[in-house]
């Protein structure tokens, strides 16, 4: 058990409480991702930043690696309920692949602070739109 706790790279010495918090927040992040079809990544990045000594870009990569299988699992329920539009996806495969590669290549070259600020404002605006419409 302690070997596992060591490998979690937690901050400080409260490793056991952090472990339980990590498990609960992982469940909640997955639950949110399944319930609204997105949002788990925000919880995971926040969690890794708060509890671990990971570098920020490593936290992003670990989150990305986790969200892929979680999204796949969630999509199965939506697929069974007839709530996946494959026609829409057919047109989105190419830009999705190209965009993913482009984003991963540009992450070290762009001024991320400016981009984060711009994206944050866009997300706030989108959030308000979803709440009031």
């Amino acid at each position: 058990m302690y070997k596992i706790l060591d490998k979690l790279n937690f901050k400080g010495k409260k490793r056991l409480p952090y472990f339980f918090l990590f498990c609960i927040a992982s469940f909640l992040g997955g639950a949110l991702n399944g319930f609204v079809g997105t949002g788990g990544g925000i919880i995971f990045v926040f969690l890794l930043t708060l509890l671990t000594e990971n570098e920020k870009k490593d936290s992003y990569a670990t989150t990305l690696a986790a969200i892929i299988p979680i999204s796949l699992v969630g999509s199965i329920s939506y697929f069974s309920g007839g709530s996946v539009d494959f026609e829409l996806l057919r047109g989105a495969y190419l830009p999705a692949i190209l965009g993913g590669v482009l984003g991963a290549l540009l992450v070290d070259k762009l001024r991320l602070k400016f981009l984060n600020l711009l994206f944050g404002c866009l997300v706030i605006y989108s959030g308000i739109t979803m709440l009031v419409r």
Partner: protein, 119 residues
Amino acid sequence: MEFLITLLISALMGMGIGGGGLYVIYLTLALGVEQAVAQGTNLLFFVVSGISALCLHLRKRKIYPVQLLILVLFGSLGSIIFSRLGVVIDPEIPKKVLGAVLLFGGGVSVFATLKQIKK
């Protein structure tokens, strides 16, 4: 235009900044897709976009395997239970939850970035 918007959203996802929420919004508000269909389609869209970005991230970044294992195990459990709920529940509820999540996520992102810039 549709190609360009999808490319931009996918690039934001690939950078790790986010973007999944934006694709749901694009599908519902711009294309008029039903909320549950937008959510389900977005999950698969993220898988495609995420795998291509992850292939490149794996070469440069460190991924912590035990953290990953716990995130995937408990996250998948949460996702299995709540995605079933997302399909059958009144679509207004996940829509409002998404709005609140975006507002919170965007607020945290703006606040943290402004704090970094001040330093």
